[in-house]
């Protein structure tokens, strides 16, 4: 990402965002859309300023649960990915179960979590975990499993053990896959924690939005949505930057830190 780009390319995302907000604003005025259906962006931003305190408090809570759930997902996803990618036996045994688990809409498990853990932080963390560990596991496993057979032959005829191959080739090779999965998984983790908060919490941005909508404070609902989106974007680019720094060789860049 550090290579020089034309200024227009750097500006483009901002232009698009402002363009979207502008179009939204104009459409609301042109069709005189009532505020309780779709508030204009200016109104939303006013509301944001007005409710800055509660928004900050609830969004930092959401960020907290998301990061914890995501961190657990990284640990769980990597371990599972390693097991599945390194052992065909584990792969064949777990694959159908994993697919099945992934097919379950995570909102469906929140009520169960509430029964087990009550209303609050833990269901949100678990939901964030459950929704985001799968892509991490799949990507780590893919990275491990894409070992060229010829390279494997070269190593085995040198007397390399399975562990040698895993450490020297499998892990470094799966790093780009791993980092690519992180940026996707972190946005999913937000989805998970917000879902859980709207169903079973009395804190967090999801809870705030639910409260606001039940009081017909639609601008506040939209303010919450924009905060979530902004947090997601920031986290995404944070991990995209980490990815770019650590796995530049996968995209053939000339300046990057060597891994391992």
């Amino acid at each position: 990402m550090s290579r020089k780009r034309p200024a227009i390319q750097t500006l483009m995302p901002w232009l698009v965002v402002f363009g979207l907000f502008g179009a939204w604003e104009l459409a609301c005025i042109a069709f005189s859309v009532p505020e309780f259906v779709l508030p204009r962006p200016t109104v939303v931003f006013q509301t944001m300023a007005e409710f800055a305190g509660p928004l900050w408090q609830h969004s930092s809570y959401t960020l907290f649960t998301t990061v914890i759930g995501f961190a657990l997902a990284v640990i769980g996803g990597v371990l599972l990915g390693l097991a599945v990618g390194a052992s065909p036996l584990v792969y064949h045994g777990l694959y159908p179960v994993l697919i099945g688990f992934n097919a379950i809409p995570k909102v469906a498990i929140v009520p169960v979590l509430v029964v087990w853990f009550g209303i609050g932080t833990i269901p949100a963390i678990i939901t964030a975990f459950a929704i985001s560990f799968f892509p991490i596991a799949v990507n780590v496993a893919t990275g491990l499993a894409t070992l060229e057979p010829e390279l494997e032959d070269v190593l085995r005829s040198l007397g390399a053990s399975k562990l040698d191959i895993l450490l020297k080739v499998g892990l470094p090779r799966s790093l780009p896959y791993f980092f690519a999965s992180l940026k996707v998984a972190v946005t999913l983790a937000f989805v998970g924690s917000v879902i859980a908060e709207t169903v079973a919490s009395n804190e967090g941005i999801g809870y705030l939005m639910l409260q606001a909508s039940s009081r017909f404070q639609i601008p506040l609902v939209f303010a919450g949505l924009i905060v979530i989106a902004a947090m997601g974007v920031v986290m995404y680019f944070l991990f995209a930057a980490v990815e770019g720094r650590l796995t530049g060789w996968a995209t053939r860049k000339t300046e990057f830190a060597e891994v391992e």
């Binding site: 060229e148 070269v154 007397g159 470094p172 060789w249 060597e258």
Partner: protein, 261 residues
């Protein structure tokens, strides 16, 4: 001279019941450079796997260095058409890879790294890659990558080098250049070599003995001794003797392919 690699009536059938080689016998002497040619799909790559112990024969025996092969050899150098370098490692660190694996080097590497690196640099220089130690594979041309791959197969001083169409993906000029490079290292180190190739001129240029295989299931059909003096060079390839040898191989392979149809 005593035999280093011996295959005694070896057969191998793959899982699906494909009989890849059947009754394959061949002997390569210590320090000899052998080439194996044959029609596509006749079991040449299978032969590589049998000799290196990557696959056990279904029938028959494989002996390398006086020992029956029971599992993967632990000291063998291998090279393929695809250089299979690790893209996240520099040239030098790619070369060090076998040293991180092969005993006893892996235990000495930490203490004697400087010595090993000097050795690796010397080897790189001998194939014309001095100064490329810190380049990544994707910063090298295909021919350069293949040189690195060759060095990687030799860095730990193996007694056996197995090459499966190592120069198959290179242009004619680069390929002929690398023949000379390979011959030089071989003449210096005198390891035992087995080279699988489709290029009959390559086989005659490099080998002391050329084995011609039949179509699948592969067996050795004939053995040609190549007694051209060494070091051979491009001039050698224009001599009548060289032409005659290539022609004889060419005819045999054509016959094999005709017989299949």
């Amino acid at each position: 001279m005593h035999p280093f690699v011996e295959l005694d009536r070896v057969s191998l059938s793959y899982g699906g019941g494909t009989l890849a080689v059947d009754g394959l016998s061949l002997t390569v002497e210590q320090g000899q450079f052998a080439a194996v040619v044959g029609p596509s799909g006749c079991g040449k790559s299978t032969l590589m796997k049998l000799v290196t112990g990557l696959m056990p024969p279904t029938r028959g025996g494989v002996i390398v260095d006086g020992q029956e092969v029971a599992g993967p050899l632990k000291i063998c150098g291998m090279g393929f058409q695809n250089p299979t370098l690790l893209p996240w490692r520099t040239t030098l660190r790619n070369l060090m890879l076998p040293l991180e694996i092969v005993r006893p080097h892996r235990h000495k590497l930490r203490r004697e790294r400087a010595g090993y690196e000097a050795e690796a640099k010397r080897l790189l220089a001998s194939v014309g890659l001095a100064g490329f130690e810190d380049k990544f594979p994707w910063q090298l041309s295909g021919g350069m990558q293949q040189r690195v791959s060759l060095c990687r197969a030799l860095i730990h001083g193996p007694k056996l080098l197995m090459l499966d169409e190592p120069f198959g993906a290179l242009d004619a000029f680069t390929r002929e250049e690398l023949w000379a490079v390979l011959q030089d290292v071989w003449m210096e180190r005198r390891f035992t070599g087995i080279l699988v190739t489709h290029d009959l001129r390559e086989a005659v240029y490099l080998a002391d003995v050329v084995y011609v295989m039949t179509a699948r299931p592969g067996r050795v059909m004939s053995v040609h001794r190549i007694d051209l003096p060494r070091p051979r060079n491009l001039e050698t390839t224009f001599t009548p003797e060289f032409g005659r040898l290539v022609h004889a191989l060419r005819d045999e392979i054509s016959n094999v392919r005709e017989a299949v149809r």
